[in-house]
């Protein structure tokens, strides 16, 4: 009696009980499909995040001042930024980063705004994709001119169109806005979240840091800057050198006031969080697999009772205990495997469907396919053994008498 024979027999039996077999599979189908969908979406999400980060550039280093401990003289100046860029050979681009909230309005629309004060290097560091116009240049930064770069979402709500280069908007603190010229329109920054953006979202506006100081009448107390190294490998070193230079220039070497963080590290952190989250949900989904397994056992036990006479007949004509055992085990494994395959198909299609809605390209790894099918068969074996043993142990005479 070979394996193929057994499989054929099991399939015949599954087919002759279509509805029941399907219901048995349902638990496995739900379990496998949800695990696959969740893990694929999770991995796809990680890939998307990694991709976004790589777009920004993993060679980017964020340098921050520990504002709680810093004195006024410890803050980064525009001159520091310039020196870091000029003197450290690893540093390709450097920009200050200040951030203010306020209002921006056109004749058509007034809305809250987030202003990012930076210099012309932000164009490279943020990997900005311009749709129209240009980013502001070094002269505009140095002179603190009233120029802005806005994104297409903001352009749409201010002017109704997106080609708005040359137009002016009023920007600044809500109480006193000033006129600024739009020199460029960039592609919406929201990427995968574009669909969630509505008109009430604050406008996102790049302003020369120097002009932002004028608008808000602040001294250039910069607590944050970004540098971009010439390569990923030099990023770490560039960060350390920049930190050193800041300490030298501010004469505060004795106090540890500056922090250099690579985005790579942040990326790792985010991926870890997403990974844990995915694993957690997948674990919850795996519980439904377990429940599905119990369902398989349940039905197999019913099936053994129902087929007691069949077992008796088979034994009478020469079936060994092992034949009967293997027959029932094959059945439960095949039910689980078919459930696993259906679950795989549903899970993958579900992942793509949901991924489409969320803007994530799911990543279906071969491992997850192998693991889930393997897990389904393991469930089939584990929960099939008890009923199969029960069937195999039946006394042939009593089984033959069973009505």
């Amino acid at each position: 009696m070979n394996l193929f024979e057994n499989i054929k027999m099991a399939i015949d039996s599954i087919i002759s009980n279509k509805m029941r077999s399907f219901l048995t599979m349902l638990g496995i189908i739900i379990g496998i499909s949800s695990v696959i969908a969740i893990v694929s979406l999770g991995e796809g999400g990680q890939n998307t995040i990694t991709g976004e980060f790589e777009k920004i550039g993993v060679a980017t280093i964020k340098i921050t001042v520990k504002t709680a401990e810093a004195e006024k003289s410890d803050f980064i100046t525009y001159k520091d930024v310039g020196q870091i860029k000029d003197k450290i050979s690893y540093v390709k681009y450097a920009t200050p980063y200040t951030y203010k909230q306020g209002t921006a309005n056109s004749e058509r629309k007034s809305k809250s705004a987030m202003f990012v004060g930076c210099n012309e290097d932000m164009y490279y560091i943020d990997n900005i994709e311009l749709l129209y116009g240009r980013f502001f240049n070094n002269i505009e930064f140095e002179e603190g001119r009233a120029v802005v770069v806005i994104d297409e979402t903001a352009a749409k709500s201010f002017f109704g169109t997106i080609d708005v280069v040359g137009n002016t908007i009023n920007i600044g603190p809500t109480t006193s806005t000033k006129k600024a010229t739009i020199v460029g329109v960039l592609k919406s920054q929201f990427g995968m979240f574009e669909g969630m953006v509505d008109d009430d979202m604050p406008a996102f506006i790049y302003v020369p840091g120097t002009y932002l100081d004028i608008l808000y009448s602040t001294q250039s107390q910069i607590s944050e800057m970004y540098i971009m190294a010439d390569s990923k490998d030099n990023a770490e070193a560039a960060g350390i050198l920049a930190k050193n230079m800041l300490m030298n220039r501010h004469g505060n070497r004795d106090r540890d006031l500056y922090k250099a963080e690579s985005l790579m590290k942040q990326l790792d952190q985010i991926n870890t969080v997403v990974g844990i989250f995915t694993a957690f949900i997948a674990a919850v989904a795996a519980i439904s697999l377990l429940v599905g397994g119990v369902g398989v056992m349940n039905i197999m036990l019913v099936s053994v009772t129902e087929r007691t006479r069949e077992i008796g007949i088979r034994k009478a004509i020469g079936a060994k205990t092992s034949n009967i055992m293997f027959q029932f085990l094959t059945e439960s494994v095949i039910i689980s495997c078919i459930g696993g395959i259906i679950g795989l198909i549903l899970g993958v299609s579900g992942a793509y469907l949901l991924g489409r809605l969320a803007g994530i390209t799911p990543s279906v790894s071969p491992q997850i396919i192998i693991i889930s099918i393997g897990f389904a068969s393991a469930v089939g074996i584990f929960f099939g053994i008890y009923p199969a043993k029960k069937a195999a142990k039946l006394d042939p005479i009593e089984a033959l008498r069973y009505e």
Partner: protein, 230 residues
């Protein structure tokens, strides 16, 4: 060929011990056709089950084809049921979800016969019981007499040395009973050893030897006089 010596079979149900066979001894030579008769509960079915290796005796000795069966384990007994013994039951005991051909093939599946050979042998067995034309049908699509013929085909397909028939005509009418007994007699003529249990004296007349049992013992054992031969 079959030699049993002082077989005792005791069933224990709760605290009650029931002795179904109280020291039965019997010897059946190859080619014999033996009928076992007796009232209900006389132990004839138990004897058949022990002879068919379906049931284990409590004590005694059983030698089949020179092989001592007494101490064998389940797997060995299954092997003997598979190759040496063919069962025919009163209620046919065909598997309802399989076709007639598949039913007949099943013992060979357990005997490890290759698929192609199985088909040929199953068809051959079905020809011997005059049922070669409805092989694709399911058991519920044929008459009782035909079912019993399928069961006989299944019993002989592995070429067993002994055919054990437990009231094979119990569910059949007179006409069909004759047909079935004719087939069984033919198998015996072809060399099979047949043991048959029945209530009906006419059926016993087809055999060569009648054994009467009562209360777990053999009370007489005679040659058949006026045997009906087709």
């Amino acid at each position: 060929m079959i030699k049993i010596d002082n077989i005792i079979k005791t069933y224990t149900t709760g605290k009650i011990n029931l002795t179904a066979l109280k020291g039965v001894s019997l010897s059946v030579k190859p080619g014999e056709f033996v009928t076992i008769m007796g009232p209900s509960g006389c132990g004839k079915s138990t004897l058949m089950n022990v002879l068919g290796c379906l049931d284990k005796m409590s004590s005694g000795k059983y030698v089949l084809n020179g092989k001592d069966i007494s101490g064998l384990v389940d797997n060995d007994l299954a092997e003997i049921r598979c190759r040496e013994i063919g069962f025919v039951f009163q209620s046919f005991n065909l598997l309802p979800r399989m076709s007639i051909l598949e039913n007949v093939e099943l013992p060979m599946v357990y005997a490890g016969v290759p698929k192609k050979e199985r088909r040929e042998k199953a068809l051959e067995a079905l020809r011997r019981v005059d049922l070669a034309d409805r092989v694709k049908h399911r058991p519920n699509e044929i008459s009782g007499g035909q079912k019993q013929r399928v069961a006989i085909a299944r019993a002989i397909v592995n070429n067993p040395s002994v055919i054990l028939a437990d009231e094979p005509t119990g569910n059949l009418d007179t006409k069909v009973t004759k047909e079935i007994m004719k087939i069984i007699q033919q198998l015996n003529n072809d060399g099979a050893t047949v043991l048959l249990v029945t209530h009906e004296p006419e059926v016993a007349q087809y055999s060569k030897r009648i054994i009467h049992m009562r209360d777990g013992e053999i009370i007489d054992d005679n040659e058949v006089i006026d045997r009906i031969v087709f």
